[in-house]
Symmetry: D2
């Protein structure tokens, strides 16, 4: 049953088309929608719309529903359009008139925003934990192998001496940058849209601060139009952060594909992380690194989708916004998995001292040579030319 007055039965083709993947995607949001509904009910009680008993009934049923949703016992019916409808229908089925009160003081437009933000906040916390855990893993790797010298490259050509530690610590520093940007993204999302209704407020005196604080939001997103207009902007910022993180993993994967090239062999990935070929008996391929690398582009395309989806739309809610849910949810899954896999790889990655050492060839030391001349008082550019001429003769 729809939440709206279906005077004429909705055309089934249109229904299927507009619902799309929502029954599946909303399944992930049910938990957060239930949580927000419980808090909303508490606010309604304090504002005198619900009696204590009614609120309790709603709360119990919402907790049941949430538990069922977690264990796979509650499914959203396509006829219900979305999770919000599924929840209200269930409450009405079970609680009758009391269920008819839960939607007081809200609209699906702020309900979905609230559920999404609670979901995003949870996922962001999870990403933060994974980032910290990866940092720990990379550091352990660096502590173990860091002192080994290896060539540093520019233009994919040997440049100057580097070390396994310098390479690994670069990733650590990048991940700390990610943690800093994480804060900004989290703070942006951490605003409560609940009570902004359809985007123009609720003609009823409700306490938005109360529900915001009970839900753990650090502040209220005050202007109801602004709540809706932040669709695309907020998701886009989260996706920017996720892409930012994936970029580091992409770079690491690109490095490892290259550095484990048999002709270089600076690192070794254990056999049980490599896959084979259906035709070439000898093959051992770094598929996990390649998927890690490729996922950067997947997340980037989700970011681009969200950022262009809102284009050309005037203020206020549009159904186009619905298409922003999938990219956010998918991107979180990808990033969570990718951070896990990156950790797994660093746990068993080994530097190969012999190969690293063998690669420390003469050209890597030309700068050092020039600087030795500098320390003897020769101007750098002159020293550079001297070393360059000597080097060119040698070749």
């Amino acid at each position: 049953m729809k939440l709206w007055y279906e005077d004429k039965k909705l055309d089934p083709g249109i229904e299927k088309f507009t619902v799309g993947g929502d029954t599946v995607l909303d399944q992930k949001l049910l938990k957060y929608d239930c949580k927000a509904s419980i808090i909303h009910a508490r606010m309604l009680e304090r504002n005198g719309i619900l009696s204590a008993a009614e609120r309790q009934e709603l709360e119990t049923e919402l907790e049941n529903l949430s538990a069922e949703a977690q264990t796979g016992g509650f499914f959203i019916n396509p006829e219900d359009e979305d999770g919000h409808t599924a929840i209200e229908n269930r409450l009405r089925d079970k609680l009758g008139v009391v269920g008819e009160k839960i939607h007081t003081g809200r609209s699906r437009n702020d309900q979905v925003l609230t559920a999404l933000r609670l979901y995003i906040k949870d996922e962001l916390l999870c990403v933060k934990k994974s980032l910290k855990s990866l940092i720990g893993g990379v550091r352990r790797f660096s502590n173990r192998w860091g002192r080994i010298e290896m060539p540093g490259f520019t233009h994919t050509r040997k440049a100057m001496p580097s070390s396994v530690g310098m390479w690994a610590e670069a990733l650590v520093e990048a991940l700390y940058d990610d943690l800093d940007q994480w804060k900004a993204a989290y703070a942006l999302i951490d605003q409560s849209p609940l009570g902004s209704g359809a985007g123009y407020g609720i003609p009823l005196d409700i306490d938005r601060n109360l529900s915001a604080s009970l839900l753990g939001f650090s502040r209220v997103q005050k202007n109801p139009v602004s709540c809706q207009n932040s669709r695309g902007k907020f998701e886009g910022t989260v996706l920017h952060l996720l892409g930012f993180i994936m970029f580091d993993l992409h770079k690491t994967a690109s490095d490892l594909v290259f550095f484990t090239l048999p002709d270089l062999g600076f690192f070794e990935i254990p056999e049980d992380m490599l896959t084979g070929s259906s035709i070439m008996p000898h093959k051992r391929n770094p598929d996990a690194l390649e998927i890690l690398r490729g996922y950067y582009h997947v997340v980037l395309s989700y970011e681009f989708r969200v950022k262009s989806l809102g284009a050309g739309l005037i203020s206020g809610y549009h159904r186009d916004f619905q298409l922003m849910k999938e990219p956010v949810i998918q991107a979180f899954e990808i990033v969570r998995e990718s951070l896990f896999i990156a950790g797994l790889i660093f746990r068993s990655l080994k530097a190969v001292p012999g190969r690293c050492k063998a690669a420390m060839t003469g050209e890597l030391y030309t700068v050092e040579k020039a600087y030795r001349l500098v320390q003897q008082g020769i101007p750098f550019r002159e020293a550079y030319r001297m070393v360059a001429e000597e080097w060119n003769k040698k070749r």
Copy 2:
């Protein structure tokens, strides 16, 4: 069981990560993979690798498997990595030694390419049919309502007289452009990669022309390196075409959201195609148009994903290519559904003669006025100025 020699059991985390959504996506390709395998077996028979009896056994089993896959009776096991492995494992389970022969003369790299191209060709034919059907629908709409005058807009402002027919025929002309571009995309895809192996040919004398022609490809993609390097390019061209089509639907949806604005009311969408609001009892929203509009961006992001996924990779297969399957498959689903919905809408869309007529206000005719002066021998720019001055006084 893997197709490759799993000396050491693949780490389960890595396995899950690299397989990703392939067990689900490949389900859609099984039919094509079976078809290609049947043809491949015929080629092997003619080339003396298989006996007639062996070929027959393989063919029967592949047909069984294909039928089961269609009816949901055959599923790809994550342990199998992908559909190709699932097929070979099944053949070996059922046919023993004969099953061990099917992979002669091919690799998963050309196998997936072949299945994908057969799939794309089928889907493209389906898109073409839908395009033609939509053209028919728009024409019927135009025949019925076309003569009604309505304002033409530039800069979202009334410009000059237009008509329902002029508007609808613009879509028809655009869809014909799509059909033209369709041909180029189809011709590109219509090249057989089968027999290019892992990307460097097969050290065995096989008849690539034979399997190509039996599979209905119009030509062989000869260079095996070129087969692999076209990953991303070919899919990208298909997605460009699909985005090209979606752009027309996006434009049409944007127009209809605007033209059905109650303040304009040039068209009417029937009630059973509109949805309502959970909070506003009066609401009737054109959600289907909004999803249609939004899907353009989804397809565009898939195109961008595919086009950037191949960046920075040297010649030859990389596992990153696997991530190109999903965008292609998803985009086809979206475009097929969208063309269907567009047809549905045109079937019941009505022009509203009264509202159209009422909107034919004076400013629309200033050009006509100027041209009447031109026909009296006044240079256009002077005529323009005369009408402009008169118009400005009136305001």
Copy 3:
């Protein structure tokens, strides 16, 4: 003259191709490059590489050069490859041996990073000022016209009562979100890369903290590999912020194109901000709003250029990075201009009370009606149905 040892004269085609637009783009960075060079020289003095007199000579000449660059008296020669070379060549021409010392302790790789970051920091400060100034302008507009009621839209359809103030304050709240994100972007950029050399440090004891603090950076980006690997990430974050801001202007422009539609007429843009048509004498078009709207996509495309340019590249500098300069510089110009124009528009934008009032039609009040019933004790969903039925009868 190149900074490197041009054993064999570089092919002129290759030279032109690799230099590309750099001689023009670097012109904007010269000022920052000179500033960084002056600080670098001071550090070299304190580290004993330069005498006080040498440092003074360099400083004077760099100040001259910077002044000439500002007034258009100094141009980068294509033969010089880039601004860094042009600067060193000039110093060598004028100061001889002393000029040969300036490049001690740095590489073009950290030099360009430093100049770019100083440039970005300056531009970001300018953007912040413009944001604040726009907030002031929108507030003044809101103070003047805010109390006027106007319809709020969802799905581009009348939804509930809004007001000019609610609409304008939504922009203000959005711009405050921008200011918050601004901080995160600025903090990221505010790390000194100077002294990281080519990406693997300098084989000389130099004081990176000193040059960082003299240049006004709040901290040193320590790991030299990390400095280079942040190419694309840092620029991408700045472009994300700029796109974030442009999104708000895009939304505002979309709203104004719609709200100033003659059929609605809620706002009025003064005549001298509208342009005309070469053929239609009556036309007045909101071109500035359309360019404002379109610029969002331009900035978005710059963001995606930068974010995809680094794909597939291993750690360390690559010449591909050079192509990230143009999008950053262009985007800043666009955003600066756009914020200025947005301010200009709000300064003269007028609400039209009569048209706004006339648009406050019945359907906007159905929620209010339902809530009056709620306040009489009727459960919301029942109240909704009652109003919906009544409304449907009326139509």
Copy 4:
């Protein structure tokens, strides 16, 4: 002077903002705009709007103007807004009343479309020529070095034997695919929009077929609304083609950066195509390859700019379209230059037989080994296992 009736002087800030880079970009289109204007005048003569003498006067002046534009003697004044205005103003300055007649039967909206298409057609022809010339160059390279064996890679790991010829011919085959797609793009563009006016036709009997055929268009784009709605679609298709070509060059550049890695050394790029470092005396970097590689992303971002710029806009012209000119013009410059540079590189690229041969190590032949067993009657999968086991023992 504007072409429209500037009742109130346009605000100078708005003027600057809306004109943007058009005075520079249109400079490239002037030649085509003049050509189209000459043909337009001929059509007007045949349709009785212009006398033979008037037409002649216009033609002479337009030819003068065009010549001046080519030699840098005619510049577009920002006050003129665009090239179209500049041309008409000049004609009016020189020819008086006759100049006031040239705009009869057209609008700037179809005028810019016409000039752009003529420009694109010319540039496409130039691209085709360059493609063919590059094919010739790669073939000459292949003829010279093709027989040398080199390793083929999958997953950036040695896979099976390949050859310099197989690698080079893959590019040739890809470029032939490009030539095929070229045809489709050219055919799409090759439709005359002239006479579609502002997007709703001209209230005057003009002969669109005549001007189309005199301009060399193969057909008329009939529906005037369709002409405007193809903005974004047509440019997007051209950019898709250009990106398609750049992808091949990107792949080639990626290959060459990798294959010329000193540790592999399969190919040699001559010294005079490599650049150096400001700090490392020994460095020789393949910057041209890196710029070639990076330009793919630049063109890709232009494609996505154009494809997203039209989003959310209803039928008819919008000023946002103006922002599509730059990406098209820039992309053509990039592609032209890149094809030239690719040719230059192939002209002097050398394979290094010794290094190629040394790299033909054992693992490349495991498939051959398995196929020898197949030819002895062993099923492929069994043969694979036998070789794999043996190979694993050896390691």
